[in-house]
């Protein structure tokens, strides 16, 4: 199975068709590459499941190759004739538009988008209600202010973002492209946005490709072009694309006017960037086109002087544009919970309004006789002598009006400012996460990215982490570790010191020094052997081994300049990381591949530059599981070099060789794979002239045949790859990322279950599981790899039985294993493969699997397809309340990332697809620990408190208004001025909660990292739950009672006027809620002080300003009332009486029932003191010693 991953790039012809059938567009390829690449390790066990899997894909492949492009469903492009393109479909030009709005549509569209939030509709309805004269509680301006403010802030933000999009669109659309002018046959410069389907374009080296085009010709005589797709999928290595020989011959241009140009039929535009299906008619010949023949917008042309192509998809129909949809918007758990409480608050609101309305009706009924004359009511209008009623239309209507008016007055029970505060707080939190130096990845120079701005707080409640393996747990950087040559193991490099044999890979090339970009530590013995000029048999074999590694690949060496003009670097570009690792290894041992053209390669062998003609290359395919090249060396010998998976290689060796060497090699291979290395076997055979000639004619026949070329080539390869001498084997390490075992251990302690979902084989998965400490020897492994539903059911039932058995021993095996303290701990690991999942997911067995999986500490899923990954995530998501997080780096993880509550993309080796689909992106798996344990914890804690506080804050205020209404004959008068009512939640009390929401930390980073268990408070919803909400609301009611009734009783039967008392109330409530916040703040920064105390001062200033406006009834009231002692006594009394229950309960609870967080806070505070005293003692000790 070795070597699966070597040359995938070359199997495009047939494979791409399969890919285009992949369930998720664009995901198939990555999965394939990864699964096959990772298959190249630790094998030797037959795996029936795997075989089945392959044969199934085989049938799919057959089916897909029979697929025909239906004429009705295809796009017809006339090369060089943009006008003649298919008239059935309207084809856009090449201009793109990512901006959402235009200046004219901005206002309506933006408003429409904003009002999709239900709560805004509510606030709008209230503003509208308030405009009715009968109901006008507030001034018209005042009532619209909060909503207008919120809408404005959002609109400004949207406008700015859209302006930036407009700007980048404009730049993009106005770039220059050279387009063939059919009349003159010359390439003229045009703007990108004017390019049309059917036009012939020319792209020069290092230029971006303006639209999706089919290659017609390239500067390379064989029709090869190299492109870099970094903007498309983030892969930085070069990919090869081919122009068809039929069009290569006469590229359109000056020499070949396009009058006889051909017709292309291709698929309608779709978003599969790895698939393309079409054919081209040139000179009556029909040529089929695949993904290897098109170059896509967004890519860059590299290493190729020019290409000429015909545009097939333009503008918004290009694959990159079709793929540019953003990540789906998610809503955080806390926000969902919050909506539940919002409903509760609405119920309270309605209750309050009903009370007011009913009391109003009763009052009117009781006083119906009195009100004719009561001076303050004046039911009757006598002004023009008639006996008509003034502003009164019966009790029923009055009650109805009273209800609506009370809704208007009490509207802030639903806090509008909370929505905007939450956005701001999340912005602040995101700022700190992005700026966190601990989340910065040095190696890829990438910061943390917050792509979704509304689920920050979910990071604090994660219970399940679904992780991809390759590229996520491992670096996906293959490293050559061991070589076994003729059965002799050379693993010295693994243990040797860092400095040895540096001289090998520095070579003079004219004035320059060339170096491979990466080097491997070498085994000194092997180096010595190679230096001994290959006198011995062993030395000869070693040289051949490395020669094979250097030439049996598809690596393209690129010479890169460095800052030192005398030095140049060789960068090996290839699609398989294994091949790169082998080529670098060969280079380190002095076999440096310097140049590759289509016909030959140049290898520097220990200082001698030698040219090898590449006569033939048999690409990798999944049947043979090997690749081979036939080269003609400088000594004119023709050699066949083969490398491949061990089981495929041992079948084709020469029988005569000594068996002990084979056995030794096999033993070495087994040793390597048990170390978790990926193994490959290398062999060679010298071809005789005759053999070569036979092969050559067969190869050329196969290559030129039009039908079943792939099959013929495979047959030719199998024919020549026989009777090999085994040169040796290599061991490549798929290195674990830094800190992965520690990170997994931390998460395990934090109560987070880590599931690994990988495309790898079971053995590889298990070995990686051990090396990253996910699995331990003490665990009971439950392995499920079945081929039928029946056996799956049996296995699952066994597993359930086992789980029950353990459950008897310890009631909660899950908790038990997590804490790792119980002596009776029985931990189980479930290992399940993709085939079994096919039988389990979406059937009745799902429930059983769920039971078993949740009982196990560790779940490893191997050989899973991308959609199965998503299926497993939704298995958990649909059955539990627990939060899920998916982390991955490849396109095959996209579906999983989008399904999970939180999706994290690793911005690493593989493409950017995962990052594009993710909510957060970061450079390393281990960052997950600070992200969840520190930032997640903080974010959750902050946001939870902020929501509760906002509810409380507004409820206190509403209740104060309500109590007052009870003393106004239920007529919704407010003593507090309408301006203060409006400003209360958006100015008087808004800033401190935002500052606290952004900055407050309950625990230090150090403590949170040291005690991962603290993370569980988030999983248990400790900071936001119905109980806390109820308690907070009760507190709010008490505080409103204190705030209202202390001044009420103190000022009853006094001369006080409404405005003065209103001022007292508003000041009292603002100070009270700010003090309430102050008692809950964990850490006081200077900013917090400024915000909290500043807000109180700001409120006072606002109240003073309002009372300096003579048109308002409260003119000068604040000065009058502040001049009295009673005012200050009331204020003090309100604050103390209001805070008393909150403070006492808090003190009591923190002392008697301390939460983990509380204990840790105390430790945080006192440990530092302890550490300080320790230090003093230590110092004393050391001075004594001196």
């Amino acid at each position: 199975m070795v070597g699966d991953g070597l040359t995938i790039s070359r199997e495009e012809e047939e494979e791409e068709e399969e890919r285009s059938l992949a369930p998720l567009p664009s995901s198939g390829r990555h999965h394939r590459r990864k699964s096959s690449a990772s298959a190249a390790s630790r094998d030797g066990f037959p795996n029936p499941a795997h075989v089945r899997h392959l044969s199934r894909t085989e049938t799919e492949r057959l089916a897909s190759s029979q697929r025909e492009l239906a004429d009705s469903n295809s796009r017809i492009v006339f090369i060089g004739d943009p006008g003649g393109s298919d008239p059935r479909f309207e084809i856009p030009r090449n201009s793109i538009r990512t901006a959402k709005y235009s200046p004219i549509t901005f206002l309506p569209r933006n408003l429409f988008e904003q009002f999709r939030r239900l709560s805004y509709i509510y606030f709008l309805a209230i503003v509208i209600l308030n405009q009715l004269p009968q109901l006008a509680v507030f001034g018209r301006g005042a009532s619209a202010l909060p909503l207008a403010f919120v809408l404005l802030v959002t609109a400004v933000k949207d406008a700015y973002e859209d302006w930036r999009r407009h700007r980048s669109d404009r730049i993009e659309n106005n770039r220059a492209a050279s387009v063939l002018d059919p009349q003159s046959g010359r390439f003229l410069s045009k703007r990108w946005k004017e390019a049309r389907v059917g036009e012939v374009l020319k792209v020069l080296a290092n230029e971006s490709i303006p639209c999706d085009m089919v290659l017609l010709a390239t500067s390379d005589p064989t029709g090869v072009a190299y492109i870099q797709t970094i903007n498309l999928d983030g892969e930085s290595n070069l990919k090869t694309r081919y122009a068809k020989q039929e069009t290569m011959a006469r590229p359109p241009g000056e020499d070949h006017p396009v009058d006889s140009a051909g017709v292309i039929r291709c698929e309608q535009p779709n978003r599969n960037i790895y698939g393309f299906l079409g054919n081209m008619e040139v000179d009556g010949k029909r040529v089929s086109l695949g993904p290897a023949n098109i170059i896509l917008r967004g890519c860059e042309l590299k290493n190729t002087a020019w290409v000429i192509g015909v545009a097939v998809y333009t503008g918004s129909e290009t694959k990159v544009m079709l793929n540019s949809s953003g990540a789906p918007s998610k809503r955080s758990r806390l926000e969902t919970r919050m909506n539940r409480e919002t409903l509760l608050l609405s119920a309270i609101l309605i209750a309050l309004c009903s009370v007011v309305a009913i009391c109003n009706g009763i009052w009117l009924g009781n006083h119906s006789d009195d009100l004719e004359l009561a001076q303050f009511f004046r039911k009757r209008d006598y002004s023009d002598g008639d006996d008509k009623k003034y502003n009164y239309s019966g009790i029923g209507t009055q009650v109805f009006f009273a209800f609506l008016m009370s809704v208007i007055v009490f509207q802030i029970m639903i806090p509008i400012s909370l929505y905007i505060s939450m956005e701001l707080v999340r912005l602040g939190q995101a700022y700190f996460m992005v700026r966190d130096a601990n989340l910065y990845d040095e190696s890829s120079n990438s910061r943390f990215q917050c792509r979704a701005l509304n689920i920050n707080e979910d990071l604090g409640q994660i219970k399940y982490v679904f992780s991809d393996k390759t590229g996520t747990l491992t670096e996906n950087k293959m490293e050559f570790q061991c070589a076994s040559i003729r059965g002799v193991d050379y693993s010295g490099g693994r243990v040797s010191s860092r400095d040895n044999g540096e001289a090998h890979y520095i070579l003079a090339a004219g004035k320059h020094i060339l170096k491979p970009k990466m080097s491997v530590k070498t085994d000194p013995e092997l180096v010595r052997l190679l230096k001994n000029k290959g006198d011995t048999e062993q030395g000869k074999r070693a040289r051949e081994f490395f020669l094979a590694l250097a030439c049996c690949n598809t690596i393209v060496p690129l010479v890169v300049d460095t800052s030192d003009p005398k030095q140049k670097l060789i960068d090996y570009q290839g699609e398989s990381p294994d091949e790169q690792a082998l080529a670098y290894a060969a280079a380190s041992y002095g076999f440096v591949l310097i140049e590759r053209t289509s016909g030959h390669i140049i290898i520097d062998i220990l200082g001698n530059r030698q040219r090898y003609d590449v006569l033939g290359l048999h690409e990798f395919d999944s049947d043979r599981k090997r690749m081979s090249v036939i080269v003609c060396g400088p000594d004119k010998t023709i050699n066949l070099f083969v490398k491949g998976a061990d089981n495929s290689m041992f079948g084709i060796i020469q029988n005569k060789v000594d068996l002990s060497m084979i056995d030794a090699t096999k033993a070495n291979l087994h040793a390597y794979s048990s170390l978790g290395l990926r193994t490959l076997v290398v062999g060679m055979r010298e071809l005789s002239r005759k053999e070569f000639e036979e092969w050559q004619s067969a190869y050329e026949n196969a290559n030129t045949s039009l039908m079943g070329r792939g099959k013929l080539l495979r047959a030719v390869a199998s024919n020549v790859e026989r009777e090999l001498h085994i040169l040796g084997a290599s061991g490549i390490e798929d290195k674990l990322q830094e800190g992965v075992p520690e990170a997994i251990e931390s998460m395990r302690q934090a109560g987070i279950k880590v599931w690994v979902l990988t495309g790898d084989k079971q053995e590889t998965a298990i070995s990686i599981g051990f090396s990253c400490k996910l699995l331990t020897e003490a665990m009971t492994q439950i392995v499920i790899n079945c081929n039928s539903e029946e056996s799956c059911r049996n296995k699952l039932q066994d597993a359930v039985a086992m789980y029950r058995k353990f459950a008897v021993i310890s009631p909660d095996p899950f908790e038990n294993a997590l804490t790792g303290t119980g002596s009776t701990k029985v931990s189980m690991a479930l290992i399940i493969d993709g085939i079994s999942l096919v039988y389990i997911l979406k059937t009745k067995l799902e429930e059983e699997l769920f039971k078993v999986a949740t009982a196990c500490d560790v779940v490893l899923c191997c050989r899973v397809a991308p959609l199965q990954k998503a299926g497993i995530v939704s298995l958990i998501k649909s059955r539990t309340e627990d939060m899920t997080l998916a982390i991955g780096d490849g396109a095959n993880d996209v579906s999983m990332i989008q399904t999970a509550d939180v999706g994290i993309g690793i911005s690493g080796q593989e493409g950017r697809q995962a990052v594009m689909a993710s909510d957060f992106a970061m450079g390393q798996f281990r960052f997950l620990v600070p992200l969840l344990l520190v930032h997640g914890h903080w974010n959750y804690q902050r946001m939870a408190y902020m929501i509760l506080y906002n509810f409380y804050r507004n409820a206190v205020f509403v209740f104060i208004l309500f109590w007052y209404v009870l003393y106004t004959a239920y007529t919704l008068t407010t003593a507090i001025t309408e301006w203060s009512t409006v400003l209360y939640s958006i100015v008087y009390t808004a800033l401190p909660t935002i500052v606290v929401g952004v900055l407050d930390k309950d625990l230090s980073r150090k403590t949170l990292m040291k005690y991962p268990q603290l993370y569980r408070s988030g999983q248990r919803d400790e900071r936001y739950n119905l109980k806390l909400f109820t308690l907070t609301m009760m507190d709010a009611v008490w505080q409103s009672v204190a705030t209202f009734y202390i001044p009420y009783l103190a000022y009853r039967q006094s001369t006080v006027d409404g405005s003065s008392l209103g001022d007292l109330w508003i000041l009292a409530v603002v100070i009270l809620v700010n003090i309430h916040l102050a008692t809950d703040v964990f850490r006081w920064y200077w900013i917090t002080h400024v915000a909290v105390w500043g807000c109180i001062v700001a409120t006072l200033i606002c109240v003073i300003i309002i009372d300096c406006i003579w048109t308002l009834p409260g003119y000068w009231a604040i000065f009058k009332i502040m001049g009295t002692g009673l005012f200050w006594l009331c204020l003090l009394g309100v604050i103390v009486a209001g805070m008393l229950p909150h403070f006492s309960v808090k003190a009591l609870k923190e002392y008697l029932m301390p939460s983990d967080i509380q204990i840790a806070r105390e430790m945080d505070k006192f440990r530092r003191m302890n550490a300080a005293t320790m230090e003093i003692q230590m110092n004393r000790f050391s001075t004594l010693q001196l």
């Binding site: 120079n445 080097s519 204990i1159």
Partner: protein
């Protein structure tokens, strides 16, 4: 380990490159959330001293305000029923509405204790909703302030204009319902002078009520709400109106009527003559006459003193309770053995 190392020269290059465009976040205490901070904890000391401090602070304040309230001498006399002649008790509204009846009402009040000047005279209304929504907005501050806005009568209906459409100044229900009972006092048939100057806020006189605004068409409608105004005196000097128009917060309120600038001696008999004009009978209102001295805490009100004493003693009690709690159930703060995962190893 056989780690492939990047070439040292390359590393140097990379370092240069990194310096040029490294995205590494710049370190600052702010961005790393490491600003110096104070971390208050509710330690036993803090809790106990907070409660004790509040207790120690509140009890004296409570005592002081109680004594201040004690020292206030207050005479309250409810006259709305008593000032209706016996024969009209059944139909008080008719009595008060009639222009023919004599509404003079005499009574004698005894001064309970010495009352130092100034003695404030208040009228107190009960069940009169000056904060009723229909009422409280029924005024026009522009019109009150300046002559040029004389025609401005928005919000004033139904007392905005006369039948022929000319504006009422001051318009609106509040002004219309101006209180019109009057009081005069005498001790041993010697009239006591009631100072009615400066009973309104100076700020109201200066800014809210214009000195060039004279009453017009006031109280001319079909229904008389209350007092009439002297049309030759500008609004800024109509202090009764200004006091009345500063609408009360609660349905039971007092309004300053005037001051007696002489001391009243204990057991002195004050004969009061009340012109009982104002109709509170139609809505079960009450009218009281109040003579009161003042203190730093305002009028007579024990509530605040009692409240402070209650809160203060509660805090002292809580301080004691917490002391007992801390003694009975000592807990070392920050002891890791209290952490949930350490507390119950068997269970977990």
């Amino acid at each position: 380990m056989n780690v492939p190392t990047a070439d040292p020269a390359l590393e140097a290059d990379a370092a240069v490159e990194r310096k040029k465009k490294s995205k590494k976040p710049k370190y600052s205490r702010f961005t790393q959330q490491e600003l110096p901070a104070c971390k208050p904890l509710l330690t036993p000391t803090i809790v106990i001293s907070t409660f004790a401090l509040i207790g120690i602070l509140f009890i004296p304040i409570g005592l002081a305000s109680l004594s201040a309230s004690e020292n206030v001498v207050e005479i309250v006399y409810r006259y709305d029923t008593e000032c209706i002649p016996q024969q009209s008790q059944d139909d008080k509204v008719a009595f008060i509405q009639s222009s023919a009846t004599d509404k003079t009402c005499r009574t004698t009040l005894t001064v309970p204790k010495n009352m130092k000047a100034p003695v404030h005279i208040y009228y107190e209304l009960y069940n009169f909703y000056q904060n009723h929504r229909r009422y409280v907005k029924n005024r026009n501050d522009k019109q009150l302030r300046s002559k040029e806005y004389e025609l401005e009568t928005t919000n004033c209906a139904p007392e905005a204009t006369t039948v022929d459409g000319s504006p009422i100044v001051p318009c609106g229900l509040i002004a219309w319902s101006l209180f019109n009972d009057t009081y005069s006092f005498a001790i041993q048939n010697k009239a006591i002078e009631v100072n009615k100057k400066n009973i309104a806020w100076q700020s109201d006189k200066d800014e809210k009520f214009g000195s060039d605004v004279y009453p017009k068409n006031f109280q001319q409608g079909g229904l008389i709400g209350g007092a009439k105004l002297n049309e030759s005196i500008p609004l800024s000097e109509q202090e009764d109106l200004i006091v009345w128009m500063r609408t009360a917060a609660l349905p039971q309120f007092r309004k300053l009527y005037g001051r007696i600038e002489t001391d009243l001696v204990a057991n002195e008999q004050i004969s009061v003559t009340i012109q009982n004009n104002y109709n509170t009978y139609s809505f079960e209102g009450e009218k009281k006459l109040v003579l009161s001295t003042t203190s730093w805490i305002g009028g007579k009100n024990d509530f605040l003193g009692v409240a402070y004493l209650t809160v203060g003693s509660l805090c002292l009690f809580l301080a004691l309770a917490f002391i007992v709690l801390y003694l009975l159930k000592p807990r070392t703060l920050g002891d890791p053995s209290y952490l949930s995962w350490n507390r119950n190893p068997d269970r977990h």
